[in-house]
Each structure stands twice: as structure tokens, then as C-alpha cells.
């Protein structure tokens, strides 16, 4: 379980992730979740997408987006379960699931962005 001294860091990641997610995810989810699959807009092809993502700045932005958003989720979801379902006795499991998931996703993002051709 996270001890008291970890809390400020976790709150900072939560709020950083809140900002990153608020600015970037609505437009990206609208495009890739709705507009492109439903044919409202023509998606950029493989070459163009790869070209965009290969740019060091894009890689950095995408990494920060993944890292911060995942920790934002971990922190908020942990308290959603805590307040909403009142399952305090499961705290160690919940923390492991939330923060463990966030760490795993962050490592995956770093690996994928690093190894991109």
C-alpha cells in the first residue's frame, strides 16, 4: 500500500494527467473512435501516421499523455472504488491493480514509442 509520503506525488500525477487528458483525449477519441470508423472523415494513411508519430516531439507528447493519463486513471479509479463501493478491505489489491496497471501501461508506451521504425 502507498504510504503517506507517496500521496503528494500521486496527487500531482493525477492533476497533470487530468490536464493532459482534458486537452488531448476528446479530439483524439472523437477522430479515432467515431469520425474515422464511421467514415465522417478520411483518416491519414499508414505512411502519414507513421511520419507524424516518428517526430521526436510527437513521441514525447504521446509518452507524457500515456504516462500522466494512466496515473490519473489509477488515482481516480482507486477512489471511485473506495468511495463508491466502500470496499476498503480490498485496498491492497485495488492499489496493486491501479498503480500496477499504470506502471505497466507506461512501460509499454515507452517501449512502443522507442522501438517504432
Amino acid at each position: 500500500m502507498a504510504n503517506r509520503s507517496n500521496e503528494p506525488l500521486l496527487w500531482a500525477l493525477f492533476s497533470g494527467g487530468g490536464v493532459a487528458a482534458a486537452f488531448l483525449i476528446p479530439v483524439l477519441l472523437f477522430l479515432y473512435g467515431l469520425a474515422f470508423p464511421l467514415g465522417w472523415l478520411q483518416p491519414p494513411d499508414y505512411e502519414r501516421t507513421l511520419g507524424l508519430v516518428q517526430h521526436p516531439l510527437t513521441r514525447l507528447v504521446l509518452f507524457m499523455l500515456c504516462f500522466l493519463s494512466l496515473f490519473h486513471w489509477a488515482h481516480r479509479f482507486r477512489f471511485t472504488l473506495y468511495d463508491g463501493l466502500q470496499i476498503k478491505h480490498l485496498n491492497p489489491v485495488i492499489n496493486l491493480f491501479c498503480y500496477g496497471g499504470a506502471v505497466t501501461g507506461t512501460v509499454a508506451a515507452a517501449y512502443l514509442l522507442w522501438t517504432l521504425p
Binding site: L24, P26, P43
Partner: protein
């Protein structure tokens, strides 16, 4: 004698009313709070999609085409539609929190909340437009 911190049968308990597990379903403002907290699930689910997209990009043109086909799955489109509403809710509630977290004063007077939140919306619009421009630009 050192007072024991552990509970015993005779330890006087505090009086606490029991709160039902569904306490947040009774009032709209509580439900709104819970829905706002649940938006984090869709934030995470979008990141999973993004990671799968990066994975597909690394796998070559065919893998990427397969990923794009997968996004057309009706069930996924519905989930993403719901997710979009949730992340929109997250963004709006997040931007509206700024004036509550930060009281901006100008010549001793507190600026109205709308004026403190407004730059967030302007920046949001600019960032979203930039992303659409980058993705939709031809050639």
C-alpha cells in the same frame, strides 16, 4: 496504564450512521460526482486504444489496416461514443475547476469564474484544431 489502540469488546464505539453502498445514486449532484470519477475509466480505455495503435504502427501497413478495421466494430464504436461523452464531461468539469482552485485577483477584485475558465477553453479549442489540422492535412 497505556491506553490500548486496538478494539475490544468493551471499547466505546463512535456513533456513525451506516452509509448505503449506493449513497451516490440518491441525489443528482452525488451521481454527477460518481460519473465524473468514472470518466477516468474511459481515459484509460482510450490510452489502451492508443497503445494498440502504436503497436499496429510498429507492425507495418497490414497490421495498421487491421487495427483500422477493428475500430469499425459496431460494439467498439458504441463504447467509444459513450467514452467520448465521458471524456468531454471530464474536460468540462476539469476546466471549470480552475477558478475554484485558483482565485485570480485584478486590482484587488476577484475575477469572475467565467474569465478564469475561459483561457482553458480557448487553449482546448486551439489544441484540438491543431491536432485535426495535423491529421487531416493533405500531402
Amino acid at each position: 496504564m497505556k491506553p490500548s489502540t486496538a478494539y475490544s469488546q468493551y471499547h466505546p464505539k463512535w456513533y456513525r450512521t451506516r452509509v448505503s453502498t449506493l449513497w451516490w445514486s440518491r441525489k443528482w449532484s452525488y451521481l454527477k460526482f460518481m460519473l465524473r470519477e468514472l470518466s477516468s475509466v474511459f481515459v484509460a480505455s482510450y490510452i489502451v486504444i492508443l497503445l494498440l495503435q502504436l503497436h499496429a504502427l510498429g507492425g507495418g501497413p497490414e497490421a495498421y489496416l487491421e487495427f483500422q478495421q477493428w475500430l469499425k466494430d459496431p460494439l467498439l464504436v458504441i463504447l467509444n461514443g459513450i467514452g467520448f461523452l465521458f471524456v468531454l464531461f471530464h474536460a468540462v468539469t476539469w476546466f471549470n475547476l480552475t477558478p475554484k482552485a485558483m482565485a485570480v485577483r485584478l486590482r484587488g477584485k476577484r475575477l469572475p469564474d467565467v474569465l478564469v475558465a475561459a483561457p482553458n477553453y480557448a487553449a482546448w479549442l486551439a489544441v484540438s484544431a491543431l491536432i485535426v489540422f495535423l491529421l487531416m492535412r493533405q500531402g
